[in-house]
Symmetry: C2
Amino acid sequence: MTNTFLEKLHPGFSQTIELAGAPIIEEKSQFQHIRIFDSVRNGRVLVLDDIVQLTTRDECGYSEMLTHLPMLEHGNVKQVMIAGGGDMAIAEEALKHRGVEVVFNVEIDERVVDLSRRHLGDVNAGAFADPRLKVQIEDAFVFLADKASRHRFDLIIADRPDPVGPAEVLFGDTFYERVRDALAPGGFAVFQNGVPFFQPEELTDTLRQMKKTFRYSGVYLAVVPSYIGGFMALTWVSNDAVLGDPSKWQALDTAFAASRIATDYYTPAMHRAAFALPAWIERLVRA
Amino acid sequence: MTNTFLEKLHPGFSQTIELAGAPIIEEKSQFQHIRIFDSVRNGRVLVLDDIVQLTTRDECGYSEMLTHLPMLEHGNVKQVMIAGGGDMAIAEEALKHRGVEVVFNVEIDERVVDLSRRHLGDVNAGAFADPRLKVQIEDAFVFLADKASRHRFDLIIADRPDPVGPAEVLFGDTFYERVRDALAPGGFAVFQNGVPFFQPEELTDTLRQMKKTFRYSGVYLAVVPSYIGGFMALTWVSNDAVLGDPSKWQALDTAFAASRIATDYYTPAMHRAAFALPAWIERLVRA
């Protein structure tokens, strides 16, 4: 019998991933069911509560677009906070920017961090070796309330799962208010916002919420094959700046070359392209 | 028991689509096994030899990017040939351009045409009602050899399946030579070229072949969730013109507005964005 993992995230549709060998990790933490295995096709896979979080073969589209895009357009990100992201794949990308002074990676589940450190070195070894990384085992929702009184971030990245279980608070009005108060002048926050082909309301609801709390907000796109359904929506907010500002795009090629960061997905051309929306997503955004 | 369709196109990975009700069509034609059914999530689905060809919910990304993109950049397409495309979804998009004089849709399997006419009206009713549509039941490979002696096309669209079975000739050198000889001055041909995440060689092999036969060639991208694996590669060739020419992009917004064509995916911004390639696809293209 073939050893397979079946993901039934969206009603009416499922994906099956064939494993290469026996599962590496299969355990229940305080918060969730954690699995790590090698797949025949997509490299090593991290699964939380039966949903694919990352495959080493295509996490680049997700991690790079949540980091390099806002960081290069901002131009001077020093203080970064990551909400979730226990696998440290996003932290690893953020830390590739030499100007970054600190990355607070706030993950509620210590087991995800420990197991990712041990088994997902391909995507996080650089992060764990970097003294600028501060791993906080804490609810990002609580951390923001505490930290916001004394700390401001140039970039907050919400590597949040879907709005169920412990992550539900990361989709509430209070969360957005805390993000707003924790942003430094000129700062951005960016958010995982689901796959609009299967989860259109996750995008429309979020954008409606964001408009209440932030002066500027919007959406850009990435394509991560393992997040099934085509385009993934990434949303952004700011109190005082626009992300996806064409007047800043001329400078991207020089800035990216100067950064000497090697990427698998991000390029300045993909940066500019990410703000183009298919007509059906444009309609969702206007809704 | 739930009624499902399982697609095992790529080794190590499969997708399962839940049906809404009993299958509508399930038969074997002279060339292939044909299925049409309604799905819970993605509308009506056409399956040939166990591979999803089209769902009414997301064919827009495919059909619109193979038609409106080259047609608007060309600016004066009158004569169109479609190789394959028996479902007439692409013909329907091409015929939305008022300047088009004729669309030869050359499909080898008459049953696909008949069943699509009867059951896929959502995506082709306009085409079948249009006197400019010429349906040719013939091998496109043969049609091109015959027709090329007396006919030149401004646009040839190869709506070819994967390079197996009867479609294999549509990936051979001789096919590209026939396409080359059938192109009018300034004309383009565009090709379905697989999902590079799962089929990288289909892209690299094709681009290598194209360079032998055409002066200009390249790739652009579309995202069609049902063609699992993220980005779909669409390739283009020409004897004397460049597709994806930024000097023509200024005019797109006006031209598209003037066409008064309603789309679900194509926009001039998506047109420009389609030529941006993720770093890993750029590397494939340079290989």
